[in-house]
C-alpha cells in the first residue's frame, strides 16, 4: 500500500538533550545517517543567545551533537535540503537548550519536538518503521504529551505538529490549527489531542488506572506501553489511519471519552 498523506509528530518533554543527546542521535542516525556527503540532508540550529542563525550545512552528526552538548543551541534540526519535493521532505527538530538557559516553551514542558515526513518519504522508509522510531524517541525522553497526525499537503502536516502557520495554508487550515491549540499552555499536565496517535505521560497512565486498564479498555487499535511509564495510542490501524479534516470523526470522539480524565475541561 502506498502512502497518500504526510505524517507529522509532536512531543513535549523535559529531558535535557544537551546533557544526554543519545535519543536525538539514535533517531537522526536511523533516519538520515551519520553524514550527508551530497548535501541532500542538512543540519540547522538556532543559537540560544539570539545570534543570527547560520545557513544550514550538510549533515555531520558528530559535529551537530558536539554543538548540542555545548549548550549553545536553542533548537537543533535535521532536514532535507530546500527545493526537495514536498512528498520527499523529512525533518526532525528538537529543543536542546540546557537547563541553565531560558527554554522559551509555551507548554507545561520544557522542550518541544516536531517531525514531518512526506508521503513518498514514508513509502521509502516504511511508515511503521518511522512511527516506531518516533515512539522510541518519545519513550527515551519520557514524553509527557504528544500527537501524530496524518495530513496533506506536507506543509499542513508540518504546521499541525509545530502549531505553526504558513502562507500556503488555507484560512480553514490555519483556523483549525489554532483551535487545536486551546490547551497548549497546559500540555504536559493534560494530554495533547487525542489525535490518530496520542502520547500519554506516566502521570496520565496512572490517572487512567494503569497501563493494564488502558490496554484492556481504551477504544483504539493499538496501545504501546512505554518504558518511561507513558503510553502511545493508535486510534485506528496504521493501514487505515484517520486523515486530518477527512473521514469519520467517531473513533476520536470515542477515544476522547475514555481519555477525558487527562484532557483539559472548559
Amino acid at each position: 500500500m502506498s502512502t497518500v498523506t504526510a505524517l507529522s509528530a509532536a512531543l513535549h518533554f523535559d529531558h535535557e538533550l544537551a546533557a544526554d543527546p543519545a535519543p536525538f542521535a539514535v533517531l537522526v542516525r536511523a533516519l538520515f545517517g551519520e553524514r550527508s556527503s551530497d548535501g541532500a540532508f542538512r543540519q540547522f540550529f538556532v543559537w540560544a543567545d539570539g545570534r543570527k542563525p547560520r545557513p544550514p550545512a550538510s549533515l555531520e552528526l558528530a559535529r551537530l551533537l558536539e554543538l548540542v552538548r555545548s549548550g549553545q543551541a536553542w533548537l537543533t534540526a535535521v532536514e532535507t535540503e530546500p527545493g526537495t519535493p514536498a512528498d520527499l521532505e523529512m525533518r526532525v527538530a528538537a529543543g536542546t537548550t540546557p537547563h541553565d538557559k531560558p527554554a522559551r516553551s509555551v507548554t507545561r514542558c520544557r522542550y518541544n519536538f516536531d517531525a514531518v515526513f512526506g508521503a513518498a518519504r514514508l513509502d521509502e522508509l516504511g511508515a511503521r518503521r518511522v512511527l516506531d522510531l518516533v515512539i522510541a524517541f518519545g519513550d527515551a525522553v519520557a514524553a509527557r504529551a504528544g500527537v501524530v497526525h496524518w495530513a496533506a499537503p506536507t506543509i499542513y502536516a508540518a504546521c499541525l505538529a509545530s502549531c505553526g502557520g504558513s502562507s500556503q495554508l488555507t484560512p480553514a487550515q490555519s483556523g483549525h490549527i489554532q483551535d487545536l491549540m486551546y490547551w497548549q499552555p497546559r500540555w504536559g499536565d493534560v494530554i495533547r489531542g487525542p489525535q490518530w496517535g496520542t502520547f500519554l505521560g506516566a502521570a496520565h497512565v496512572a490517572t487512567l488506572g494503569g497501563i493494564a486498564r488502558i490496554e484492556r479498555e481504551a477504544p483504539c487499535a493499538r496501545v504501546v506501553a512505554l518504558g518511561s511509564g507513558g503510553a502511545f495510542l493508535e486510534a485506528t490501524p496504521i493501514d487505515r489511519p484517520l486523515f486530518e479534516d477527512r473521514g469519520d470523526p467517531a473513533p476520536l470522539a470515542e477515544l476522547a471519552r475514555f481519555l477525558a480524565p487527562v484532557m483539559g475541561t472548559r
Binding site: 544550514p56 516553551s105 505553526g164 497548549q184
Partner: protein
C-alpha cells in the same frame, strides 16, 4: 595617692589613644569622601570623552561610506533577480565604489589619524587617573570604618577602567580599518560586495514588513527581535523573514522561539483581543516566510 596618679595617667593615655583613633577614622572618612568626589569628576570626564570618541568614530566611518546610488546599483547587479546579470558590470561597479572610498580615506587619512591620536591620548590619561584612584580606594579598604564604601568605590573604578578600555579598543580597531582601506584592503562590511548583500537583506526585511502590514516590527524582547507581529482577526502570528537558503521550517522554528515572550509582552494589549484565545490568553502561531536570497 600614688594609685590615683597612676589611674589619671592611664585615663589620660586612653583619652589620647581614643582621640588619635578618632583622628585616624576621621582621616579615613575624609580620604574616602575626597576619593569619591574625585571619582565623580573622573566619571564626568569619561562621559564627556565617550561622546567625543563616538563623534570621532562617526566621522571616521563616514569617510568610508559608499555612494548610495552606486551601492543600490551594485545591489541590483549582485542580488537583483529580475534583471540579466552582468558579471563585468558588477565588478566594475564594486571597483569604482572601492576606489572612491580608498581615495577619500587617503585624502583625509593624516587629519583623521591625528584626531584619533588626541582621542586615544585623552582616554589613556583617563585610564591612568582611574587606575591611581583605584589604588587609593584599595588602600582605604584596610580601614575598618570605611572598608565597605571603599570596596564599592574600588569596584566602580574597575568598571570605569573596563569602559575606558572598551573605548580605546574601538579607536584601535577603527585605526586598523582605516589603515586597511588606505592600503586598498576592504574587509567585511567595507567590502562593496559584502555591503551590497547585507543591504539587500535589510531592504528585503523592510519591504516584507511593509508588504505584510506588520503591526509590530522588530520589537525588542529578551529572546530576540521578531521581524513582524500581526494582530489579524482570529489569526495572530509572529513572522520571521529569512533568505531562501534556509527552509520555511527553519524560519518558522526561529519564530517559535519568540512565542512565549510575544504572548507575555502583548497579553494585556488591546490588539491581542483580536487573536483567538486559548486557556491562558492570546494564541500566536509561528510563521516563516522566505525571500529570494542574494545570489551573485
Amino acid at each position: 595617692m600614688r594609685g590615683s596618679r597612676v589611674a589619671v595617667v592611664i585615663a589620660s593615655g586612653a583619652v589620647v589613644l581614643a582621640a588619635l583613633a578618632a583622628l585616624a577614622y576621621g582621616d579615613a572618612k575624609d580620604d574616602l569622601s575626597r576619593a569619591r568626589s574625585d571619582y565623580d569628576a573622573l566619571r564626568s570626564r569619561y562621559d564627556d570623552e565617550k561622546s567625543k570618541t563616538q563623534h570621532y568614530l562617526d566621522e571616521s566611518v563616514k569617510l568610508r561610506q559608499m555612494d548610495k546610488d552606486q551601492l543600490n546599483a551594485l545591489i541590483g547587479q549582485i542580488c537583483g533577480l529580475d534583471i540579466e546579470r552582468d558579471g563585468d558590470d558588477a565588478e566594475r561597479m564594486a571597483k569604482d565604489l572601492t576606489d572612491k572610498v580608498v581615495d577619500q580615506v587617503r585624502r583625509n587619512y593624516d587629519q583623521t589619524v591625528d584626531d584619533g591620536s588626541h582621542v586615544w591620548d585623552e582616554l589613556g590619561r583617563l585610564e591612568s587617573d582611574a587606575k591611581s584612584l583605584r589604588e587609593r580606594a584599595h588602600d582605604l579598604e584596610d580601614k575598618d570604618d570605611v572598608k565597605d564604601d571603599a570596596g564599592k568605590l574600588r569596584e566602580d573604578c574597575d568598571k570605569l577602567i573596563e569602559s575606558i578600555d572598551k573605548q580605546m579598543d574601538k579607536v584601535n580597531r577603527d585605526k586598523s580599518t582605516l589603515d586597511n582601506v588606505k592600503n586598498g584592503v576592504m574587509n567585511g562590511a567595507n567590502n562593496p560586495t559584502i555591503r551590497a548583500r547585507m543591504q539587500y537583506g535589510k531592504d528585503m526585511h523592510v519591504k516584507l514588513q511593509s508588504d505584510r502590514s506588520c503591526d509590530e516590527k522588530e520589537v525588542v524582547l529578551s529572546s530576540g527581535r521578531p521581524d513582524c507581529i500581526k494582530f489579524d482577526q482570529d489569526d495572530c502570528k509572529v513572522i520571521e523573514f529569512k533568505p531562501d537558503t534556509l527552509s520555511e521550517s527553519d524560519a518558522r522554528s526561529q519564530a517559535e522561539g519568540y512565542l512565549s515572550d510575544v504572548r507575555d509582552h502583548f497579553k494585556s494589549d488591546d490588539r491581542a483581543r483580536r487573536c483567538k484565545q486559548n486557556a491562558d490568553g492570546p494564541v500566536f502561531t509561528a510563521v516563516g516566510e522566505l525571500y529570494p536570497a542574494c545570489r551573485p
